[in-house]
Amino acid sequence: MGKIEWAMWANEQALASGLILLTGGIVGVAGQFRGWQFAAYAVAAGVFVCLLEYPRSKRSKGTSVERTGQYCFTVCVKSFGPLTRNYYVRAFLHAAICVPGGFMLATVLGCVCLGIASIIYFVAAIRGEHWEPILPRKESRMPVAESIKNPPQNPPPRPPAETRRKRVDDLEDAAYDNPISVTDN
């Protein structure tokens, strides 16, 4: 349990909570529920949380898997500097965002889920994790023609010149004799 990266799980949870908030808000607004203003807020909050959480952080150890098309989001989120880098800020931000969702039935699920994500981010922050952008590395040039081996340095083994010369008078003896015995190598 020592090397768990809590932030990765919190990120998945926060993204899912954003979607749940968004869906609940849409249902609330479309059904014209009582208190639909909270639902409208939930739509905006859901979109904001999704945009903030879409770019995955770089793992401290191991390979990081990007989400599709996250580069532009990474650039935007990176530009806020320490506000988005620090997970304490994120934990408190999510806790604050989720509170208005609790006042309406349609958005209460999103509120609870985002609250859980905020707690996990808090745990991640205590463990000292922070958000690192995944930036594309310059790919080192692949060596040209990887599979072509070095050309041979020596000519192939051949018997001495006398044996090679064509002997028309003695055809039997002129047959080529393999100097090396055939092995299973």
């Binding site: 349990m1 990266e5 949870q13 899912a16 609870v112 859980i116 990887e146 599979s147 190598n185």
Partner: protein
């Protein structure tokens, strides 16, 4: 790359057929329940109150019932292994389908999530409609206690919120990156399924939706005591006709009994029995006979266990209470027990904290003042256990980063090669070894060094060569490696080939 119909059908046909059947079952269930609630006589008044929200919520609930029961079945691994190995399921197609059980589990899981969203949204609309269309004619039908009350503190509401929370935790921790980086989070949250199922079975207690029980005595839409047909039609009607359409008694409503347990209890009991069986089997102790250290942090472990049978290609799950009581790690068997030799073996590479601690327990650090006695190593030609395989030729392609890695299996590969050379079957076993970096090559393992190729293999050329030499045959491709190789091979196996060879793609992954 052009996809060949025959190759695609051989590789993907079975899976897609099962997928179509499953989708058809879900669609049929959804439509049947939807129509029942929208046109059924017993739901007439309820439908008038709630509208299509009623039908959507109930239809999605029945689809959820089906998927919650199906999702457990692919996880009964011991049962599936037994079915797969039995002679009743001897077709290779069925065996390859059973290999895809985890994909089916994921499909059912995704369906559960999607339909939960639909179900919750529809019920939110229902709650509002219960409040807005509070019925004074049929007070028993209402959920709200008075007009305008949005009631959510009843059993289905509270259990529903808990269910969604558990599902949220399970779903967010089962994404690929969380599984790969922190498997424990995935494993421990996924074991919350038992809480999920218990709450699911009481979800419908105190049902909010009621159906009418006395349809013959009170046909829906009949005239009530304080109404008359003349008021509605504005015309004088015959007395008799009026009487016919009058209700003989008041409408009686009754909530549904919880039905989820009918769907879910069978698979749940089966899965619990499966876990219990696994636990019982794991209680037998395992003796470690040999521990061999190979280059590049690889340990070979030979073990003995009573009544242990295994076939090539299977894997075992190791649990070492000295390292961690709850962690179970899968390893493919590299040596299977045979009639003559009962030991079985695995090769494990020290990558994470569990393997590191395990290796430390097995091989304590050498101290300078202690004399290290060599472990007894048994080397034998793999003569036994070679019966009953229809294999005609084997191509072994192994890609490693450095030369030292090949030494893990050097002895075994050379032994196999020598055995086949003695039996005059030199073309049975074709070795192709690839390394990314060259190094000093040891002369001891000549059969390996003369077959080394530098650089990554060009899979298309390799498969083309194999296809040309094996016309009109079925070639099984077994890939154990990173996703990149697996995807490329899968695509190549599906592509068109002029030589009539079909490549059947199989892969092994534990994440």
């Amino acid at each position: 790359m052009v996809v060949s119909v025959r190759s695609w059908v051989a590789n993907e046909g079975g899976k897609h057929l099962v997928l179509m059947l499953w989708l058809a079952a879900n669609t049929w269930l959804f439509l049947k329940t939807f129509l029942l609630y929208s046109t059924g006589q017993q739901y007439h008044y309820l439908y008038k109150m709630l509208g299509p929200g009623l039908c959507i919520s109930r239809a999605s609930a029945s689809v959820l019932n089906l998927n919650c029961s199906l999702v457990l079945l692919p996880m009964c691994r011991s049962l599936l292994t037994f079915v797969r190995g039995s002679h009743t399921v001897s077709s290779r197609k069925t065996r390859r389908l059973l290999d895809k059980s985890k994909t089916f589990h994921v499909a059912c899981g995704v369906a559960i999530c999607i339909f939960s969203v639909v179900h919750v949204s529809a019920h939110l609309v229902n709650v509002i409609n219960f409040s807005v269309s509070y019925s004074d004619d049929f007070p028993a039908l209402n959920l709200a206690r008075y007009r305008g009350e949005v009631r959510h503190t009843h059993i289905p509401g509270v259990t529903g919120v808990l269910l969604v929370l558990i599902l949220f935790l399970m779903f967010t921790s089962s994404s690929y990156c969380v599984r790969v980086s922190n498997y424990e989070i995935f494993w421990y949250t996924h074991n919350l399924f038992i809480v999920f199922y218990i709450i699911l079975m009481v979800h419908m207690v105190g049902g909010a939706l009621k159906y009418q029980t006395n349809i013959e005595a009170h046909p829906p839409g009949c005239l009530r005591a304080n109404q008359s047909g003349a008021e509605q039609l504005g015309e004088e009607l015959e007395q008799g006709e009026d009487e016919e359409r009058r209700c003989r008694e008041e409408a009686h409503f009754q909530p549904h009994y919880p039905q989820t347990w009918l769907w879910v209890s069978g698979p749940l009991c089966l899965y619990c029995a499966e876990r219990f069986y696994r636990y019982i089997r794991s209680c037998d102790p395992v003796t470690i006979v040999t521990v061999i250290r190979h280059p590049c942090d690889v340990i070979e472990l030979r073990m003995l266990k009573k009544n242990f049978k295994a076939r090539p290609g299977q894997y075992i799950v190791l649990n070492c209470p000295g390292v961690s009581s709850f962690e179970n790690h899968p390893f493919t068997l590299t040596t299977c027990p045979t009639e003559n030799k009962e030991t079985f073996g695995i090769h494990l590479r020290v990558v994470g904290d569990w393997t590191e601690r395990f290796t430390q327990l097995l091989l304590p650090k050498p101290r300078i003042d202690l004399e290290i006695l060599p472990m007894v190593q048994q080397r034998r030609y793999p003569n036994d256990g070679w019966k009953g395989f229809r294999l005609q030729r084997l191509y072994f392609v192994w890609v490693c980063r450095e030369l030292q890695s090949f030494y893990w299996f050097a002895e075994l590969l050379c032994a196999v090669h020598h055995k086949l050379w003695q039996e005059n079957r030199p073309d049975y076993f074709n070795l192709k070894l690839f390394i990314s970096q060259t190094d000093n090559l040891q002369e001891k393992y000549r059969p390996l060094t003369s077959r080394l190729l530098v650089g990554r293999p060009r899979w298309k050329l390799l498969l083309d060569e194999i296809a040309k030499t094996n016309n009109n045959k079925r070639v099984g491709v077994f890939c154990c490696g990173p996703k990149g190789i697996s995807r490329t091979l899968h695509r190549l196996c599906n592509s068109a080939r002029s030589s009539g060879t079909t490549f059947e793609f199989n892969k092994e992954s534990f994440s």
